[in-house]
């Protein structure tokens, strides 16, 4: 573009990048409250628009046909997916988008390396290191996210935890290889073949890292990959000496790190244990068998009986889990809540941090069903109140309400913070069967004296209870 002299253009580009960075920060800040969140997202989007437009002014950008083609195609694909996706499928979509961010970093890094070497300029060690890291982290993010997507969508790859010596061995070998190749890139910059091999090894590493991890540990994995995609963007910023990429990448990296930490804490497990523990793949041998726990102690009830108990309740707390998402029960549950509220019953939702398949998954489903966010209560906030709750309705949750976490120090979930629903006067559990949750252990809550088991599909049961309640 010849509109500005080069010096002028640099100033315009620099200032605009600064404005974009500020908009990303204020945009994120907007997400700290539901009221300001929409405008926060708009600010971030505006920052992105400014960053893109001003980049087109850069001296290096002279031909536009490939840019226009890429943006047009990407916009169509991204928009269609974003508009079509169901709220229950949100974890898969986020995993997929994460992966695309990762592969974009790989492509930019390799393009930059190739162009520099082609032009005959030497690659310095710092740039070479940045290229290696951008390619390594980006590639792991890409294939790792792809595996996470498959596991969440339940296609191609088994969604459970997979533990084989073979996979553990490949993890170690591939990790060491990628590390060695990265060192090669720094010691002897300028060899493209090393970079291609590094890309291939890192792509393989992403596969072997995520394949062993079970479906219910996906909240941690997605949060971690989210962080990686940010750090990859950051590394790309170091290649291009572009502060905007560095700032933005760091923000995203930080966000992923915090979410990963929250998820691990909510399961009382270390990140290493989540990534390499193969949790839930084998049931511990010293665990009490289902027969011991359940035999003769299960009280099964019908929707009519449940409605009668709810009729006399003043305070009801609903605990949603992944099962609610699977049976798409959120709207049916909302109808039940409306009916109870119209009769003066105080209804809250208690949401465990790892309920669902990604952080905040349940909140989005409930928001979709028009439940106000004030009604969605956090675990630490609502736990002291269960003593005064008349009825707790558990829908498709299991391990997060298992009192063994509190009582049995030998249990695989010992020490995991749980929702203390067993303290409530009556507990109703909507569940298809007595099959164990992700931890693979029986739940004494189901056999407790104050528990009624409502066997059936979450959505159908919610509809049945609502109808029964109307007829009372």
């Amino acid at each position: 573009m010849v509109l500005f002299n080069p010096e002028m253009r640099d100033v315009i580009v620099g200032v605009s990048y600064l404005i974009a960075a500020v908009l990303f920060v204020t945009g994120l800040k907007g997400l700290t409250h539901p009221r300001t969140a929409v405008s926060g997202n708009v600010q971030s989007a505006l920052g992105m628009l400014i960053a893109i437009l001003v980049t087109l002014l850069e001296q290096r950008v002279v031909s536009f046909e490939w840019i226009i083609a890429g943006i047009a195609l990407g916009t169509v694909v991204g928009a269609v997916w974003a508009i079509k996706v169901q709220m229950t499928g949100m974890p898969q979509l986020v995993a997929l988008f994460n992966g695309f961010g990762g592969i974009a970093s790989v492509l930019v890094a390799t393009a930059e390396a190739w162009a520099t070497i082609q032009s005959g300029n030497p690659l310095d060690k710092v740039t070479s290191l940045s290229i290696a890291l951008s390619a390594l982290i980006g590639a792991v993010t890409f294939t790792g996210s792809f595996v996470a997507f498959c596991k969440l969508q339940e296609v191609l790859i088994p969604s459970g935890a997979v533990t084989t010596v073979w996979l553990k061995g490949s993890n170690v070998i591939l990790a060491l290889l990628s590390l060695g190749l990265t060192i090669c890139m720094v010691v002897a910059p300028g060899h493209l073949n090393v970079l291609w091999i590094l890309c291939a090894v890192s792509l393989a590493l992403g596969f072997t890292l995520v394949i062993p991890i079970g479906g219910a540990d996906m909240p941690v994995v997605i949060a971690l990959l989210n962080s990686y995609s940010g750090i990859a963007a950051c590394a790309t910023g170091f290649i291009l000496n572009n502060n905007l990429l560095i700032i933005t990448g760091s923000l995203v990296g930080a966000s992923g790190i915090i979410l990963t930490k929250i998820m691990c804490k909510a399961m009382n497990r270390s990140l290493t244990n989540v990534l390499f523990g193969g949790f839930g793949a084998v049931a511990a041998s010293n665990v009490r068998t289902e027969d011991d726990v359940y035999a003769g102690k299960i009280t099964s009830a019908s929707a009519d009986e449940a409605a009668m108990v709810l009729e006399g309740a003043q305070r009801v707390v609903i605990v949603p889990g992944y099962g609610m998402a699977v049976s798409q029960a959120q709207h049916a549950v909302c109808d039940l809540v409306d009916l109870l509220a119209s009769r003066g019953v105080n209804v809250d939702f208690a949401i465990h941090p790892v309920a669902g398949r990604m952080p905040g998954h349940m909140n989005v489903l409930l928001a979709e069903a028009d439940i106000p966010y004030e009604k969605m209560r956090e675990m630490d906030d609502i736990n002291p109140e269960f003593d005064s709750v008349d009825v707790v309705l558990v829908i498709g949750a299991n391990d997060v309400v298992n009192p063994l976490a509190r009582e049995d120090p030998t249990s695989p979930i010992a020490g995991m913070p749980i929702l203390n629903v067993d303290k409530a006067r009556t507990v109703m559990v909507i569940k298809r069967s007595l099959s164990p949750g992700f931890a693979g252990i029986p739940n004494p809550l189901f056999a407790a004296d104050n528990t009624m088991m409502l066997f059936g599909d979450g959505k159908q049961m919610a509809v049945d209870i609502t109808n029964a309640l109307k007829e009372l």
Binding site: L28, L31, T32, H33, A37, V38, N41, A45, M48, A51, I52, T55, L56, R60, V61, S63, W66, G70, L73, G74, T75, G78, A79, A82, M90, F97, F100, S105, L107, V108, A111, E112, Q118, G230, A233, T236, G237, F238, L240, N243, I246, I247, T248, S250, V252, A254, S255, I258, L259, V337, D338, I351, P359, G360, N363, E368, I371, P372, K375, E378
Partner: protein, 96 residues
């Protein structure tokens, strides 16, 4: 070297800023936070534009084109889906 130090300074400070802000995001908004930060991480698009728009049409252009495509999906899809979610949290207040 000074260039690298400046970049490192920016990196470390931005990291702290990010940790500071994001700790304050309530769990209710964690899913939109993820999809939103995902969209923002599509900032790699800036690097992709530089690669795809260079003067010669060669391997770097094609790699750049692919990068533009993937990063645009990330940006457009990410912001749109975040907007969809956030709108559900704020609109149509009715029940109590």
């Amino acid at each position: 070297m000074t260039l690298l130090l400046t970049s490192l300074t920016v990196f470390v400070l931005a990291m702290f800023l990010g940790l500071e802000i994001i700790t304050k995001v309530p769990p209710t908004l964690h899913t939109p936070l993820m999809s939103g930060s995902n969209a923002v991480s599509g900032i790699t698009l800036v690097g992709a534009l530089l690669a795809a728009g260079s003067a010669h049409q060669d391997l770097a252009t094609y790699l750049g084109f692919a990068a533009v495509f993937f990063a645009t999906i990330n940006v457009v899809g990410g912001f749109l889906v975040t907007h969809r979610m956030l709108a559900m949290f704020t609109s149509k207040k009715k029940k109590g």
